[in-house]
């Protein structure tokens, strides 16, 4: 099937297929086109195929028994526990599949992944590019924010990646607007990626308002705001798995957001979605070691913003020993000094975030606090179906104490709320998690102070690091 192109010349490819596949990577079976058409494009070199799951040979001894290692080419998974084998109906053999990206349709060792390797499609007219202002955000940046925004744009425009290391509550989102505007004017495709669905939900309307003429797509599990060919995409890193060599500029927000750190799959997805050589902008309060070292040694451009927008310091967390809290929880007893603190705060009408390490601990602690006669205590975790309702009640002040396993939406700025970590010696609470937890407190201009207490049974190195981190940030911010 030959189709004639716009200028009358016979183009040797199907434009619909081109538009569908360009910049993406799809399972061959998922392509809604006929087998013959696809085969023809493969022969022409317009579609490139590769195996979905392959073996990686380790070292010189190729494949010893039991040491077989697999890699999923779609999501980058190499964890042996995240592969399974099954008698496959397609290839009629024992077939390996990737468990890590199952929710996007199964990838097996007999699956083929298809990418477009023909010419780039002609893009639709984009009249908004000629407008004097593409970004119509009316707010103003502080001097410090403006300096960061300018340097960010300069760096990215010259193809260099950039780190924005900014304390929680410094207004990171607004800092990227000028760089996004510049990219859009140059006709680039821009993506803002984050590990968290919450953040996509929160950022999408803000970017829509700031760039009212520009088509914006929001991609997260179950999202409905997808515009084909949108030049500005707000996405979870997860959803970027479908893309391949597509974006010219990549902004990564909250690279290390607690409790999502260290999923190598997300990094793989983001790298795959970017065009070769595309510059990255990393926005974070607590850069992971590799970024931090690159920045400190000068290999990565960047800027540090140590002051919150209201100019007050970050609260420095205090560590309080409460003995063996695991044991006392097993006996159904809340450690006394913790209970005393909670009661004292409640009597002063202070709303509390209490962070815990696991869902089971969350349930136990919530129940015990409720039994203590502290009304309006609720527990919320990442998969809680009532999560949004509970958060709304907390924001309205109907829930006074919120026990949680996860940092809530960034929009949760409850004036005057204070925070505790119950069992801060659990390894899940590393430096960056603790710094982000401290960042939840004192976010409003009217009530910029508040306590952050780490209740523990033995101070950990990570706790010390977090305390040092915040102290240093405050010093650098001249506070």
């Amino acid at each position: 099937m030959l189709l004639s192109g716009k200028n009358g010349i016979q183009s040797a490819f199907d434009e619909e297929l081109q538009h569908f596949l360009y910049g993406k990577e799809c399972l061959l079976d998922e392509l809604p086109f006929s087998r013959e058409l696809i085969k023809k494009h493969v022969r022409l070199g317009m579609i490139t195929l590769r195996l979905g799951v392959e073996t990686i040979e380790k070292g010189i001894v190729p494949i010893q028994i039991g040491s077989k290692k697999w890699v999923c080419r779609r999501c980058g998974n190499t964890d042996p526990g995240e592969f399974g084998t099954v008698s496959c109906s397609q290839c009629r053999k024992r077939c390996v599949y990737c468990r890590h990206c199952l929710n996007m349709g199964v990838v097996r060792s007999c699956s083929r992944l298809a990418t477009w390797s023909g010419p780039e499609p002609i893009r639709e007219e984009r009249p908004w590019r000629d407008a004097k202002r593409i970004c119509t955000w009316e707010g103003t940046l502080s001097d410090q924010q403006k300096m960061a925004a300018d340097r960010l744009d300069q760096s990215l425009s010259s193809g260099q990646s950039f780190l924005i290391w900014a304390v929680c509550g410094s207004g990171k989102t607004e800092i990227v607007f000028p760089a996004v505007e510049h990219a859009l004017r140059r006709g680039e495709r821009v993506v803002l990626a984050t590990p968290r669905t919450d953040v996509v939900r929160e950022l999408y309307p803000r970017f829509q308002n700031a760039f009212p003429k520009v088509p914006v797509s929001a991609l997260h599990a179950g999202s409905e705001n997808q515009v084909p060919d949108a030049p500005l995409v707000i996405s979870t890193a997860h959803q970027l798995i479908r893309f391949s060599h597509y974006f010219d500029r990549v902004f990564i927000d909250e690279v290390d957001a607690f409790p999502y750190h260290f999923d190598p799959m997300l990094e793989y997805a983001v790298r795959k979605a970017a065009k070769e050589g595309a510059p990255f902008a990393f926005l974070t309060a607590t850069p992971p070691p590799n970024l931090k070292n690159a920045y400190l040694s000068g290999r990565l451009n960047g800027v540090k913003i140590a002051r919150r927008f209201h100019g007050h310091p970050l609260p420095e967390p205090k560590a309080w020993w409460i003995g063996n809290w695991k044991k006392s929880m097993k006996q159904g007893i809340v450690p006394q000094s913790f209970m005393k603190w909670v009661k004292q705060k409640s009597s002063h009408q202070v709303q509390l975030f209490i962070f815990v390490s696991s869902v089971s601990l969350l349930r136990e602690l919530t129940e015990l606090l409720q039994r203590e006669g502290l009304g309006h205590v609720a527990g919320v975790h990442a998969e809680d179906p009532d999560r949004h309702a509970k958060v709304a009640f907390f924001r309205e002040g109907k829930i006074r104490i919120l026990v949680t396993t996860t940092i809530l939406e960034r929009g949760v700025t409850v004036p005057g709320a204070e925070a505790a970590v119950f069992g801060a010696d659990d390894p899940i609470f590393n430096e960056s998690a603790l710094v982000q937890i401290a960042g939840r407190v004192g976010r409003s201009e009217r009530r910029p102070n508040g306590e952050v207490i780490l209740f523990h049974n033995g101070r950990t190195l990570e706790m010390v690091r977090a305390q040092r981190h915040i102290k240093q940030m405050n010093e650098e911010g001249g506070l």
């Binding site: 964890d79 042996p80 526990g81 995240e82 592969f83 399974g84 084998t85 099954v86 008698s87 496959c88 109906s89 397609q90 077939c95 599949y97 468990r99 199952l102 929710n103 199964v106 097996r108 089971s360």
Partner: protein, 261 residues
Amino acid sequence: MNEYRCLFCRGPRDVPLRFRTLLAPVHPPGLCRLCLEKMAPIDRKACCLVCGRDLRQLKLEFIRHNICNDCMRWKKSGRGRLFGRNRSIFSYNKMMKEMMTAFKFRGDALLAEAFRKDFRDAYRQMIGIDPKGLWNRMRRGRWLFPNERYVVVPIPLTRERFIKRGFNQSAVLAELLGEPIIEALSRAGSQKKQSKKNRRERLLPGRNPFALNPRAASAIAGRRVLLIDDIYTTGATLRLACDTLEAAGPDRVDALTLAHG
């Protein structure tokens, strides 16, 4: 190590450090305590002697001589005459539903590994080579003669569904038993929609979607057949399969299913 993570939720498993687990080169994959607690195992001493449902969840008026009402109705219906009994490992609760979704519809076949031991134990009980069965036979002086082994037959999918899903979940479960598997049945594609049938067709009992694989007939004649399916719902599917097998002349047909509900 991966065997220390839960197959389903990926949380830590707290594998106990016993002498046996210390020596084992790899600990078998499985679920964590939290996930296990959400499952509803069926006690084989408190289940319907025919369909294997958990009788503790049933009102007494629906039970007679350890057989549930539904099963008595099946007996009267005359269908599935060779059908002996079904044994299910778990009741179909919310957790089981979630696991089935991941296993069948998302295609995470590896989850079956979480039930390998339960499935094998149930099978051993059915053929009487579990410790208790052995003891019973010894008492009766018949310990050399365990029940005859079963011919294991997984319930097939239609061809279209099999291709689309990529695997047959019943076959995956059957493989857990470590016995040879006989693909004795095939399943025909979608039946006419109820709305497209005329009145006469609608009143007829449903067409049996199963067909006997003639090459497997000799393996079944005079033997005990064990049908494997993922879930026992009304028992209709298993009885239709049983009726189809009847032509090959099996001695009796039992079933082993992962869930009941």
